[in-house]
Symmetry: C2
Subunit: 234 residues, 2 copies
């Protein structure tokens, strides 16, 4: 069960920034969408690049201004504080992730085993498509304003709940041999995070997104004691 993201939305910088504009149209002062989206894309792209290199806190607005070609004052047409900017990006990541993971196709969600495979594959594919966004959210969510922490925790729990449901359903139908689906889900999630957090390592090993997803799938299925997995090599 391999996931294809194509029909699930536009995950390019422009597409995501268009969604961001939508979500914050009441606070963004630039009225014309085509201008706002293009500029947002330049700003956010710059932020992600610089922050993932040196950290969000260590990246000054002057740096962002210079690298993106948008003046200091211009930046503040899109957010009212640096913390708001952080929250806008974090919010876009968690909203997109939750939306995608809930959009499993019929043929996947019908069978728990196929569903879990699809979830793993979709998560890897999404974090691949939105790599800098995911890295940013992972690295910066913790050490920031209370609202950001709360949002991050909630988003994480939402993701975990989706995995828990799939594993629980599989256990109920006797396909997985687990007695605590929540625990199992909690152990699966860091495996998915490793794909984008330790990206350099996997690239060095020549492991691509599909290969990584496949290996995590088989690793997890064996760990869950899936029926029909006995004796299969890795």
């Amino acid at each position: 069960m391999q996931a294809t993201l194509n029909e699930l939305g536009d995950f390019s910088m422009e597409g995501l920034c268009a969604a961001m504009l939508e979500r914050h149209r009441d606070t963004i002062r630039v009225r014309k969408p085509h201008i706002a989206v293009a500029k947002l894309a330049r700003i956010v792209g710059t932020i992600l690049t610089l922050s993932n290199r040196q950290g969000f806190h260590a990246t000054s607005l002057r740096e962002i201004s210079a690298a993106s070609g948008v003046s200091m004052g211009g930046l503040y047409a899109y957010f009212d504080s640096k913390d708001t900017l952080l929250m806008m990006i974090l919010g876009q990541v968690s909203q997109t992730r939750t939306r995608v993971l809930q959009a499993a196709p019929e043929e996947a969600s019908a069978d728990p085993v196929a569903h879990l495979r699809w979830l793993i594959s979709a998560h890897v594919a999404l974090s691949e498509a939105m790599l800098p966004w995911f890295v940013f959210a992972f690295m910066e969510a913790k050490s920031f304003p209370p609202a950001g922490r709360r949002a991050a925790v909630e988003s994480e729990e939402a993701t975990e709940a989706i995995f828990t449901a799939a594993i629980a359903e599989g256990a109920r139908r006797g396909r997985f041999a687990v007695d605590d689906p929540g625990f199992a889900a909690a152990l699966v999630k860091p495996l998915l995070q490793d794909w984008y957090v330790k990206r350099a390592k996997w690239r060095r090993r020549g492991v691509g997104a599909d290969a990584y997803a496949a290996r995590v799938q088989s690793f997890v299925e064996r760990a869950l004691g899936m029926d029909g997995m006995e004796g299969k090599g890795e």
Copy 2:
């Protein structure tokens, strides 16, 4: 194979700061060890508390000074820059972790399965004993000076190599059904990190260190296709 850390060193704040003083005796300007260790413990304890709450970058030296009761000038008797302070703490974590994981007792390292169990148990126990240290290293290692990043990557690879060796030995002796021990080790490590990174979650679920280690052990053993694991429930 449960690990006991007692004989492997002193992992209290004082013990670790004594080791830190040892490693930096040429740059720390305070000559009397008992004074230096006590003060280092106050300083480092404060840093870990504040940084784990709000991030290292967002924690000012004035804050550290006020909270630890050591004056601004006094702090600089122990390090020559804020970055150096960061490196001292990161170095202490990676040195301690590498040392401990290499100290498996005879009866553990003789058998690969027991060895892997001991490694998991020891890592959980160590991160439990040094919780704020591990959290700090995990959260702060990335977005900082090049030297820090390099050191963090190297330390991580060293840890992974130890796990890889145990799994490879198990595969060689036919105890594990894996064909890429490095990949398996890379998937085990995030499970160990989750224990301290997502500490609040596990506490909320009432899972203690021993229970967590035991569950990771059985999860991993099944995922590695360990002989004799077929049909065992979680």
